[in-house]
Subunit: 252 residues, 2 copies
Amino acid sequence: MIHNSTIDAQLNHRSIRAFKDQTLTKEQLTTLYDAARHTSSSRFLQQFSILHLTDEKKRAAVREISGQPYVGANGDLFIFIADLFRNQQLRHDLGQDDGTLHTTDEFAQAVEDTVLAVQNTVVAAESMGLGAVILGSVKNDPAKLIQALGLPKMTFPVLGVQFGVPDQKPQLKPRLPIADMAFENDYPKGFKAADLKDYDDVVTTYYDLRDANRRIDSFTKQVSGAKLAATDHRRDQMGQAIHDQGLALDMK
Amino acid sequence: MIHNSTIDAQLNHRSIRAFKDQTLTKEQLTTLYDAARHTSSSRFLQQFSILHLTDEKKRAAVREISGQPYVGANGDLFIFIADLFRNQQLRHDLGQDDGTLHTTDEFAQAVEDTVLAVQNTVVAAESMGLGAVILGSVKNDPAKLIQALGLPKMTFPVLGVQFGVPDQKPQLKPRLPIADMAFENDYPKGFKAADLKDYDDVVTTYYDLRDANRRIDSFTKQVSGAKLAATDHRRDQMGQAIHDQGLALDMK
């Protein structure tokens, strides 16, 4: 294994959900933005934006949608947005039509730009000793989030991130072994729960150490349990919310 | 601006498209996989996989699809895959149905897992002195790529990445100013090309220095030009290809 400060931080990554009662300095904020905007973007079209929420009403709205008390609490809350609006506006201003902006392909590229920038920003934050948690939960009610943030059509909020000074030291969560997620030339024919027995044991021990009073689930138990079971929730409206924003209209 | 070795590398990121004629060592490969699998994943479901292509036939097939001669040439070629197949198989093995695996929401989460891991792997590679280029072009013909790689339903190739020892030193590409991509509380009402005049000048100078013989385009010229103009190509089949893999079936 090769070691340097960047890689060691990556291998020690923990999502931080408890932050001290302080906000980012102006210098930290600028550095995070600078890391974000230097991320690779598809065909140099730079189709993402970042919204920094300091307004207490907006933070509370996002917290309520996410259902997680630490969202928009201590630390700084950001929403990373797939942004086809900026380029649409520039095209209109220069007398052009919308071109490919409403296609699934273009939306996918904007989402890719956005998510690459999320990870680059998380890495930058952790290198400064800050903590971060990536928030998929902000999309628990996509239409409501779009409304709460006042986002125009041709934008879509992809992920939230809460950054701040860590106020907890969680254990490192054990990940799938390389043999089960990286393959040479040929993707496997199938997967059996029994093949993941050793990993399941490691995950069970992790939960046991973390909190012996809570239910302890192995990885395959989590996969086969409630997390992926069909339920009725507003996240099911994701596809409609994307279409309502004018995006991926050729996907039907 | 805050500086450390991680951030300095991020701010100096260049996509590398020319590599020396050598492949990754086993240790480099393992380190990259380890960085990838320690990336945050949505709800700990770890819904991505990596395919490392050393087989010359497969590399050539991807190169042909991408239309770029450096793809699968010098260096190492990887395809990062949104993977709902592994968890589907585990659920079946444990007597469960497919649950939410066919929804847009679940596919979006798998894509997010995948793209976060791409960026983390790129950062790890660059910290070791390797170069990388993220390849959206592998999806120029999504159905053909899926067939060439022998990917089962419930998987989708999201991005390729070519890693290797850099054999070029490109200039740093100037990115959108912070004021045009990061906003506090309120997303802007609109964008005008004139507001990007200074940035357009910087981009034009960059191209002029890079290659005075090639056409020089400002940022707004690129946005209003051919890149986003409607054309007829196989990338338009992205939505159908996603559906054909059994994914995002509720998006219609």
